[in-house]
Symmetry: C2
């Protein structure tokens, strides 16, 4: 038996986090969830997200949700003393993360050479909109624009309708996740090679990487994928169907599963019907087939059909709104919403951990910090006295 | 100067990959891109993706795109000999990944105890639909169903319209990415603790984790987010606007940027107009404001406006289809489409690398393998002779 709990994956890793709002803080939160000491360096009023979203008693739950497992240090990075303190923090760290536009960190006095001088083992990391080379390097970026330019919006939506964005800020989050993956890999490379390196992830690149077979099909055929709403671009039946009391999503992903689906509806005979006996025919007569399926489903409730169709081995479920999703017994069993006590602000509900490790599970070791809450503790770790800290904070 | 190139982040890591189609192969491809030796163990006709998508000369570009940097070993896992060979491979490995339903691997003879006996340092990993605990553990899963159940579809689409799925198979890919992140973390934890552990990522959990502020706002207010198409749920102006020759996406993310945007259109005076001088008023008169902006934009082309508005520091771009995205000079500069030579099949175009490391950049070290191409090489590494390999493959 171990006397001590196992060390978390990123135990002993210090991350200096200059990021703000969403993509960068999401990345560093994941590093914190895995055990890194994440030091959020803030200036002035701090990360703008602190005042975004609905506040409860002056506290943003949106901020809380993206900044658990971090410490906050307040520095004035426009002052020489503030930048000197940042230099000492960087010298003490394993990872430096920013989500400025490319070049901004260098203008602050922390170009590549200076960082290498401060800390040759440092992993530097940036999440940005378009990458740090190419004609758009200086453009400002935002999730909606990255969605538009990447091709992502062009395939979302209904045939004959407009392109539509993902309501989820998907390009921020995917880029943040890629960056976190890149950082942990760079740390392993450092273990092997003894050197740090620079890691980047860009919002447009991340969105493009989600194109999967849509990209492959475009590359091989030269044809553009079309918007098909909730229908599959190539396969029928597939989509949303009406039951006695609502709607269910069904996705029979191959012929074996299709047979099981139709059998569970007492419609297996359709596969021997000359109107529907190939996918090409079913696809062409999709509307007719849809009506036949709706007709069969009208005999019972969504709940009954979902149980029956899943039991037959066919993927099937409800379109749930967010309230239904968080009330779903499976989502509850997976602890995808957690309540975290924030001293002075009470319990804050936030998203749980999407990566489950059974030996070193993610936990909230500390809630999202107050602005500058850890200035003294962290700055003391790089040689500043309490008086120094007071001076650094007021400048 | 180094004589030798630096070692890749996952150099020396052997991954036994039992996954098929999309979520799992995407995960293991990322591990392969980072330098792991990924051994794709296939049975029968191999991964079904080999015959999915448009084939060119009998070869699937979809398969090629998700299986670069892997080796293929063909085994009959229904035979005792085949399973014994898999056991030897597992004993030689660092990571075992599957995307079966929970419990299937145990039924194949590789339950937790057996795996621990074979290899106590093994990191085991699974990507699945719903997680391995909870009432839906035995349900079949598919991207569309995970999108429906997670709440993701409920917020996508236009006000008054239907919920709409993301055309990208986002729940497969995000879960695969989370699993890859978890695996590399588990390898670091093994470096610290000497032990392997089990890692999981589920499609529904991954989709829920993308809810970001939509979840925070629901938790803090109890109100459901509404579908708002390409408009922002809280802020105006924001969205798609008409130019002389097309449409542009504009996202002024705060008051300073909004002023720059309106100034670049010679509409700055609107901020002093009592109809539009607060966000609340602009939001209420969104249609009217939209028309005023469209009127100003009608004076010039999309290209001219995009240059001018970006130069003013305001995020702005075109809605590009996939062809336009891959022809975009920025996307080309970032090498997000690459051509990979596949012996016997010619050059296959596929997506590039979304994570950029400057010291140990990702490359295609070998293209997607033929079925069983590496059986002999890999099985020799665990003690099988050429005759053994021939015997194992025919069974």
């Amino acid at each position: 038996m171990d006397e001590n709990p196992p060390r978390l994956p990123l135990d002993g890793i210090r991350v200096i986090d200059l990021t703000r709002v969403l993509s960068g803080p999401f990345c560093t939160m994941m590093l914190g969830d895995m055990g890194a000491e994440v030091i959020k360096v803030e200036t002035g009023e701090g990360d703008p997200i602190r005042s975004q979203g609905t506040l409860r008693d002056g506290f943003s739950w949106y901020y809380a949700a993206f900044n658990r497992n971090k410490k906050s240090v307040l520095l004035d990075l426009r002052s020489d003393d503030g930048r000197a303190a940042l230099g000492r923090l960087i010298a003490s760290a394993d990872v430096l993360v920013d989500n400025f536009r490319p070049g901004v960190l260098a203008k602050m006095g922390f170009g590549k050479d200076r960082l290498n001088e401060l800390n040759p083992r440092l992993v530097t990391a940036q999440v940005n909109g378009f990458g740090s080379t190419g004609p758009y390097v200086d453009r400002p970026a935002f999730d909606f624009i990255a969605q538009a330019m990447s091709g992502l919006m062009s395939v979302n939506g209904f045939a004959g309708g407009e392109p539509v964005r993902s309501a989820q800020p998907i390009t921020d989050l995917v880029a943040g996740l890629y960056l976190a993956f890149g950082i942990v890999n760079a740390l392993r490379a450092r273990d092997l090679n003894g050197k740090g390196q620079h890691v980047e992830a860009a919002m447009v690149n991340g969105a493009i990487s989600m194109m999967a077979y849509l990209a492959s099909e475009y590359f091989v055929t030269g044809r553009l994928p079309q918007r098909t709403g909730n229908d599959h671009p190539l396969v029928a039946p597939y989509g949303l169907y009406k039951t006695a009391d609502g709607e269910i999503a069904v996705a029979p992903s191959n012929d074996v599963i299709l047979r099981k689906f139709l059998a569970s509806l007492d419609l297996e005979h359709l596969l021997d019907d000359s109107r529907f006996d190939t996918n090409a025919k079913r696809f062409q007569r999709r509307a007719e087939l849809h009506d036949l399926i709706d007709g069969a489903l009208a005999r019972d409730t969504s709940e009954a059909w979902i149980a029956r169709i899943n039991a037959a081995g066919v993927p099937c479920g409800r379109v749930q709104d967010i309230a239904q999703a968080f009330a779903d017994p499976q989502v509850i069993a997976q602890e995808m919403a957690i309540d975290v006590d924030h001293p002075g602000h009470g319990a804050v509900r936030m998203l749980g951990f999407p990566v489950k490790l059974d030996g070193t599970p993610c936990t909230v070791r500390h809630p999202a910090p107050e602005l500058g809450q850890h200035s003294e503790e962290v700055l003391a770790s790089v040689g500043y006295s309490s008086e120094d800290v007071g001076r650094l904070k007021v400048r």
